[in-house]
Symmetry: C2
Subunit: 442 residues, 2 copies
């Protein structure tokens, strides 16, 4: 039997903990045998002293073992998943998963709702009339075996230890710790059962990890954790200096996803989806090389097979496939109001987080889990970093249904734009790729 | 109103907190409005990021204000106090306070019981037959005004915030933080009401602050806190590389104190008492110079006035003054058993902490507050660092009343001695003096 005090002290003094010591702390805390004040001191010590890769793996595995594990063994083949550390206007799931499935990958994905400034794929899918985000296990398995794709809402109690620890971190300023973030994300991903996971770690003003170095450290830690747990891992590090694509909302993001599957979407969104998806195909063993993987992804756009796959999935999950061809069938806001530039110049900076909060203020996102959201509202950007703009020209079109919410959202939105007099380049988008072989700059 | 989260984060990120933020945290915690897990995370952040002198002062003052403050205004003149950070065989209080009072200083002291490996003055005093460690306030004031000395047990609820915070630190590995230690000690000393305080900060293997640098930092912080609170402060930094003097116990330490007051005590104990006491006299304004202060202290030994003062105090507090002349009247153990050296050589090292624990194992100390102690038992050292010893020669005489306890104590004691073949010098004893003018090496 260990002493809680000694384990805290060991970490405080910068020593690595054994698997048994980590299990003792985490399970003791989950069972209520270790009081929250000792766990809080421990977490703050981890904040300052970090964890080795081995410790992070053991922490993650222990949190995985604390709850249900999704058994995907009834689904044949290599199941591949994607996870993003969260951004603004991130429509990738709706684009890349159909492309991957159309190219021979197998996507059996459980996903979540939005919270705060970040949207959630489940909410976006629910803006498709009739779409069922909850499927019985058998139907989920059947769909994936048949059409190689299903996107459903996560209902299993995955990694409850993480949930309990996260609540404590959130109250004690110990969220911003790379091994703790990595453990939190990876415990849920490992419990969700995929054989391979491609991560999209965001960096920049709209991301959780503002600095590249932190994003890189987080990506490395998560790749280590996954590989040591026997999964195939790749992580890209990409920019969240400004919102991804043009649309921030729910139905309007679905519309943007459809355009992207048709080859008419925003280039940053398309490139991100092709890159992430190519890595998914490659680790799945479906593509013979990364070059082949990229070719397959681009083909699935040009030959329309990705769009066809989205329609198949919508139909298989009870949604109206006509809404994919005729996006007027998606929920709509009452009005579309342009928000105009207060001056001439060039867009120098967009605070992506603030744009996300502006969209939330319109009603597109929620503060608390129980809050209702308005699927039709959102922000459609007309100008991004580097674009020239004239005074009075629209920076964005707001899709809005409530005057008061519009006023608040407009105030936030305008404060998030910085317009300068000098020409600026658009921000770098792809930073690096991390896998078991190391880091490759992009 | 502040946010607890933001205050934790501010400290975590290495920023200094305002007086208002510190009050908010401490009083919120004391009132139960701030949960212990947030306080625990905060304390760990303080452990890593420290506090400025100003923050430490504000923390201390806030803890002082959380409880009773002893009002010594009914006692005329400059009241001077001494505090030691705790050591093994530390008989100084029983020696220096009578010497100071005999030389014109005023000692109105509240003191504590022993815990763990450290003895307590109250326990030692109780080994004098009839001695009352609890006096009504009026009697305490009357005694000091009349004979300039009273040593009583602390009963007031001083600095309850410190008590509550200390309990949490003790469970969360956040005790070893210099500003927190300084705040804890100084809040109780300031609340105890003396006008001047001389600190004896111990360093070495038997001390809380093993490293000199830590002891120095602690001394500086405590001097800053006291001076900023309007008290006259001096701190010495002295060695606890081996037990002080020869006796470790209760009655046997009283006996050693009496010998020292007669000029026949161990030289390290005598020098320490003279040094601390001279500083007490000097800050009291009773001596015109440090030279004069030293002379007064040494005189109080040679002319017997210190011993006479001890007798006066014993009588004034209901004790039998004959016990001072005839120490056979003090409690005695059943047996005195020599513990012999296992080899020839020179004493190279004594683990003072382990010797303290050996004395505790004999019954001289307590594990928990409620434990009873045996006033007669203890260890009388015959060999200290640098002494030559022959195999079979006694390293110490154990005063013991219980065979089983003796065996355990002997085992611990022998493990604490390191005997080498080469001659070694006794350890350096005085390191430095710290006051408002800075640090002077000794």
């Amino acid at each position: 039997m260990f002493s809680v005090y000694e384990v805290i002290k060991k970490k405080r003094d910068g020593n690595a903990l054994s698997k048994e010591e980590i299990d003792f702390m985490v399970m003791g805390f989950v069972k209520g045998e270790i009081p929250d004040y000792q766990m809080a001191a421990f977490l703050m010590a981890v904040f300052f002293k970090g964890m080795t890769a081995e410790e992070a793996v053991n922490l993650t595995q222990c949190m995985v073992d604390s709850g249900e594990k999704v058994d995907l063994s009834a689904i044949k083949g290599f199941k591949v998943d994607k996870h993003s550390t969260g951004g603004v206007g991130d429509t990738t799931s709706l684009v890349l998963n159909p492309l991957v499935a159309a190219s021979g990958g197998i996507v059996a994905k459980m996903t979540g709702r939005g919270l705060g400034h970040t949207g959630g794929t489940v909410d976006k899918l629910e803006s498709i009339p009739g779409f069922q985000v909850e499927l019985p296990k058998e139907k989920f398995v059947e769909n994936v075996n048949k059409i190689h794709i299903a996107l459903i809402s996560q209902t299993a109690d995955l990694a409850p230890a993480d949930k309990k620890i996260y609540a404590l971190r959130d109250a004690t300023a110990t969220v911003d710790s790379i091994p703790l973030i990595a453990g939190s994300i990876m415990s849920k991903k490992l419990a969700a059962g995929a054989d391979g996971i491609v991560l999209d770690v965001k960096t920049g003003s709209g991301a959780f990890m503002e600095k590249y170095e932190d994003a890189l450290a987080l990506a490395k830690t998560m790749v280590d954790i996954g590989e040591l747990a026997g999964r195939k891992m790749v992580s890209l590090i990409t920019s969240m200096e400004e919102p991804l694509g043009f649309a921030i909302g729910n139905a309007i993001e679905v519309k943007e996803a459809i355009q992207t599957l048709k080859g008419n979407g925003p280039k940053d969104l398309e490139e991100l989806c092709v890159n992430l998806g190519a890595n998914m195909l490659f680790i799945s063993g479906v593509a013979s090389s990364m070059e082949d993987a990229f070719k397959k992804m681009r083909n699935a756009i040009t030959d329309g097979s990705g769009l066809k796959k989205l329609k198949e999935m919508v139909e298989a999950q009870g949604g109206n496939p006509e809404a994919i061809d005729n996006t007027d069938l998606l929920p709509k806001a009452k009005e579309e109001i342009p928000v105009e530039s207060p001056s001439d110049g060039f867009v120098r900076r967009i605070d992506a987080l603030e744009v996300g909060l502006a969209a939330k203020a319109l009603g597109a996102g929620r503060e608390k889990k129980e809050d209702k959201i308005d699927l039709g509202v959102g922000i459609y950007l007309k100008k991004k970093i580097g674009d020239e703009v004239k005074k009075g020209e629209p920076l964005a079109i707001f899709h809005t249904s409530d005057e008061k919410k519009f006023a608040e959202a407009k105030r936030r939105f305008l404060a998030s734009y910085e317009i300068g007099t000098e020409r600026v380049d658009p921000p770098k988008f792809f930073y690096a790729k991390v896998d078991k072989n190391g880091v490759t700059e992009m």
